[in-house]
């Protein structure tokens, strides 16, 4: 097409590691027209960032471009010399990174960093550069540009830093803006603000945008077209509305079914298995081993990219032309009802809980210390077999609350009653009994599982601590590991030999092996891919039904909370601002902060006003 701004053709990229060549992206093609927004979604390892970095010619040293062309207004960036690249990169094509904290120089005021871009690319200097920088800061809706200009990165919040990064990218009025997970590192409210900023900027400036994210909701808010990447293959590309409402590729369908949504409580469907990383995966359909509709042909032949009759919509599936063969039978959205409340005394009753941190004296206790109240006057009850979700942004005190309930925080005021007994008054024997009955699952299984221990050792340790004999331990470890969907072959493996989802299953097994009554789930799915998250949530509900335990779920993700919580506690700055039955909080929120949080969750439904 003559009016293509950026035209990526047949791009294949491999990474070389340990003498082996590992393909990361295979025959990726994307045509970007002026003024359009294309969203690229995919889970970890899908090749989406590789595609962006290749477009900027910023691939790491061990990456090899196997084939393809990246045409910017007709000239091939992959074969361009350094000086040509310098006139295009950062000037005509600008990039915004995931983490604004590492992308900004901490030792320079941000104004000078933007002015530097202006000087470098446009030769604008002195007063003119300062004026233009103020303009840019105003463009990204930062109040008081002179103050932001003179600020160091650490003096700005995460959202402000990301705005500064956007201002810097816009400095030369680029034709193409590449955004690599620009909102992933941000809290939900800030994420919503940055998304709406990008949306309004897109109306003001003429740049075309490629928006890469693993968050389908965020992409749905912005994109005109959406491309879906899986294991290095672009499996589907088409108009956003068609991709979201009528996805064609089985993976896209699975992905959308796995995304939790605020609108209703429903059973999420995960995609079984994990994405293949085998270098040989491209000889057949990359999704074949996880797809419900796989036939022999899928395992032997690589499907072509099929243009669908609806126009501008392609799918890499053998059955793209026969869509009726890859539909699931109806009735896939069976709802899960809230657990009926069990009568009797509550399992956990917390009243007037406050936790104080002392910040300060770094040197031998000299100097003054400052008290910070991380949790302020929190009260709630948790009945048996129920799920209480504690919701809040980072710094809201929700993780401190979790640690307090496990008696890991020293300075605690208030009462925590477990079956009517104050856990802070426990003696050693009581505490040992309590530790068996209250377990925790952490956010990041890579950090929560000791990398030097095998699965059997990890899961068996809580039992060994309780003095369970080795033979009985072996039985119970085996049974628990099978209950979380792993098999005996996993027992001798080290965490590094497992995928992220498998690791989190091991962490769950470790928590459930002592048959606890209370399990604290601290962001249990945040570090996982969407399709894996759904299977873990499913597993959690299954385990609750099996063991009859209660969950205290700590999460920042309201959509996830919606799917599993019976009751919700909204926390902000250490204090509870709203609490009650989940149904009521989600349908009739009272506190303005709760409403803001709910409004900020990017949904798969397309924004009406665009």
């Amino acid at each position: 097409m003559p009016d293509a701004l950026l035209d990526i053709q047949d791009l294949s990229v491999s990474f070389v590691a340990g003498g082996r060549s590992l393909p990361a992206l295979r025959e990726f093609g994307l045509t970007l027209h002026p003024g359009e927004v294309v969203g690229l979604v995919g889970e970890s390892g899908s090749g989406k960032s590789t595609a962006l970095l290749a477009a900027m010619s910023y691939l790491p040293d061990n990456a090899r471009v196997e084939s393809g062309r990246i045409l910017y207004r007709g000239s091939d960036l992959l074969r361009a010399d350094r000086s040509t690249l310098d006139t295009i990169r950062g000037r005509r094509i600008a990039m915004i990174y995931q983490d604004p904290t590492t992308a900004l120089n901490p030792a320079m005021i941000v104004g000078a960093q933007i002015a530097e871009v202006l000087r470098q690319h446009l030769g604008v200097d002195g007063e003119a550069a300062r004026r233009r920088t103020h303009e840019l800061l105003r463009l990204v809706q930062l109040d008081d540009p002179p103050r932001v200009y003179a600020a160091y990165p650490h003096q700005l919040s995460g959202g402000m830093r990301q705005r500064v990064m956007i201002a810097m990218a816009l400095a030369c009025d680029p034709d193409v803006l590449l955004m690599d997970e620009p909102t992933t590192a941000l809290d939900v409210l800030v994420q919503a603000h940055v998304l709406s900023l990008v949306k309004s900027l897109h109306r003001q400036i003429e740049s075309a945008i490629v928006f890469v994210s693993h968050n389908l909701g965020a992409v749905a808010q912005l994109a005109d077209r959406i491309g879906v990447l899986y294991a290095g293959e672009l499996v589907e590309l088409g108009p956003a509305a068609q991709i979201l409402d009528d996805p064609q590729h089985p993976y896209t369908r699975g992905l959308i079914a796995a995304v939790p949504q605020l609108a209703a409580r429903r059973l999420l469907r995960g995609i079984p298995g994990t994405a293949s990383r085998e270098p040989s995966r491209f000889t057949h359909c990359v999704f074949a081993d996880r797809c419900a509709f796989t036939v022999d042909r899928c395992r032997t032949t690589r499907p072509p990219l099929v243009e669908l009759p609806s126009g501008g919509h392609t799918s890499r599936c053998h059955f793209a032309a026969e869509p009726w063969r890859i539909r699931t039978a109806p009735g896939e959205t069976a709802g899960t009802a809230a657990t009926p409340s069990v009568s009797g005394d509550p399992l956990l009753e917390v009243s007037g809980l406050s936790v104080e941190y002392r910040r300060g004296p770094a040197f031998l206790g000299l100097g003054r210390s400052r008290a910070i109240r991380a949790v302020r006057d929190v009260s709630f009850r948790l009945a048996r077999q129920r799920v209480l979700a504690v919701v809040g942004e980072s710094g809201s005190g929700k993780s401190t609350l979790a640690r307090t309930l496990l008696r890991l925080e020293p300075k605690v005021q208030g009462q925590i009653l477990f079956e009517g007994e104050d856990i802070n008054a426990f003696d050693a024997a009581d505490l040992r009994a309590y530790r068996r009955r209250a377990q925790i699952v952490f956010q990041n299984p890579t950090s929560s599982l000791n990398p030097r221990k095998t699965v059997a050792e990890l899961v068996g340790r809580p039992l060994a601590l309780l003095g369970v004999t080795s033979a009985e331990r072996q039985d119970r470890v085996g049974a628990t590991v099978r209950a979380v969907g792993l098999s005996d072959v996993h027992l001798d493996r080290l965490p590094e030999q497992l995928s992220g989802g498998e690791k989190q299953r091991v962490a769950l097994a470790r928590a459930f092996v002592t048959e606890p009554d209370l399990v604290i789930l601290d962001e249990p799915t945040t570090a996982l891919d969407v399709s894996v998250q759904a299977t873990i949530l499913e597993l959690l509900l299954e385990q609750k039904a099996r063991t009859g335990c209660a969950y205290l779920l700590i999460s920042h993700d309201l959509a996830v909370v919606r799917q599993v919580a019976d009751e919700v506690l909204v926390m902000r700055d250490g204090a509870v601002c709203e609490g009650g039955p989940a149904e009521q909080i989600f349908t009739h929120p009272v506190h303005p902060y709760t409403r803001d949080l709910l409004a900020a969750v990017p949904d798969l439904r397309r924004p009406s006003a665009s």
Partner: protein
């Protein structure tokens, strides 16, 4: 959800070369020490006044010293003493440094601060001077030298291992261990220690080299191995007085010390690169 950043491959060949050369030299010196325990061409203390300060020849492959004693035999016989200095001092240093690092890295507070300031103060004293201070209290001798060099090496072990402990202690598996009621000793030695072996091994192999130098220096000063017992440092000490007459007695022990020091340092460097490389590939 960023793409895998795989470790660049370039450092691998160089690291392997370090490792190979280091391991070969280390093996050679260790072999010499072991051989010396089993065999020597002459008795190490056998005096032959007719052949004093002889150059290398058929009878004496590395020549003879000022008393006509066979240099090769003395290099062989002195090997185990030098190795004892190197390994013994490192073991003593680890035995003191490791528990302190694990304890203070895990339980941070006033005690940790106090210990670390003391460690910083000790680190500011040169190792050999520190060892001399300890010897001043213990008196000269091989065992005393091992102890002195070990004590002097301990602060460095505390510093280096502690940084690895701090890193491990911030991981959730430590919190998980606390949450299930593990004791402090299990957390230190069962959870954290297995994850800090890499820097410990690297530092230990480099420290063996240092202790060899230190041991040779102490023996040279007459504070380590006591003459007439041979030890590479003692031999150098004796030979250098006659260097204007003949440098041959110096050559054997000097080569042996050089080989072992270079060997252990290269081995440490190689291991460092190797373990680091392993880790970055695994993270990818």
């Amino acid at each position: 959800m960023s793409e895998p950043r795989l470790a660049p491959e370039a450092p691998a060949p160089r690291a392997n070369r370090y490792l190979v050369i280091g391991a070969t030299l280390t093996g050679l010196t260790l072999g010499t020490a072991v051989l010396g325990l089993l065999y020597s061409p002459y008795a190490p203390a056998q005096v032959d006044l007719l052949h004093r300060l002889a150059p290398p020849g058929a009878g004496h492959l590395l020549g003879t010293d000022r008393f006509g004693r066979d240099v090769l035999s003395r290099v062989l016989a002195g090997g185990w003493r030098s190795m004892t200095l190197g390994f013994g001092a490192t073991a003593v240093g680890l035995a003191i440094g490791l528990p302190i690092a694990l304890l203070t890295g895990l339980h941070r507070g006033v005690l940790d601060q106090a210990v670390m300031r003391v460690v910083d103060a000790l680190l500011s004293i040169p190792t050999l001077v520190f060892a001399l201070l300890v010897i001043a209290g213990l008196g000269p001798g091989l065992g005393q030298a091992v102890l002195a060099l070990g004590v002097a090496a301990a602060p460095k072990f505390v510093r280096i291992v502690r940084s690895a402990v701090l890193d491990a202690a911030s991981q959730d598996y430590v919190t998980a261990a606390r949450a299930r009621g593990e004791g402090a000793l299990y957390i230190q030695y069962g959870e954290i220690l297995p994850n800090v072996w890499a820097p410990v091994i690297v530092e230990a192999s480099i420290s063996v080299g240092f202790a060899l130098v230190g041991g040779a220096a102490l023996s040279y000063l007459g504070l380590g191995t006591q003459p007439p017992q041979p030890d590479w440092g003692v031999m150098i000490n004796e030979a250098q007085k006659y260097i204007s007459v003949s440098f041959w007695p110096l050559l054997g022990p000097a080569l042996a010390i050089c080989a072992s020091i270079i060997g252990f340092n290269l081995l440490g460097e190689g291991l460092r690169d190797r373990l680091h490389l392993r880790r970055s590939v695994r993270d990818a």
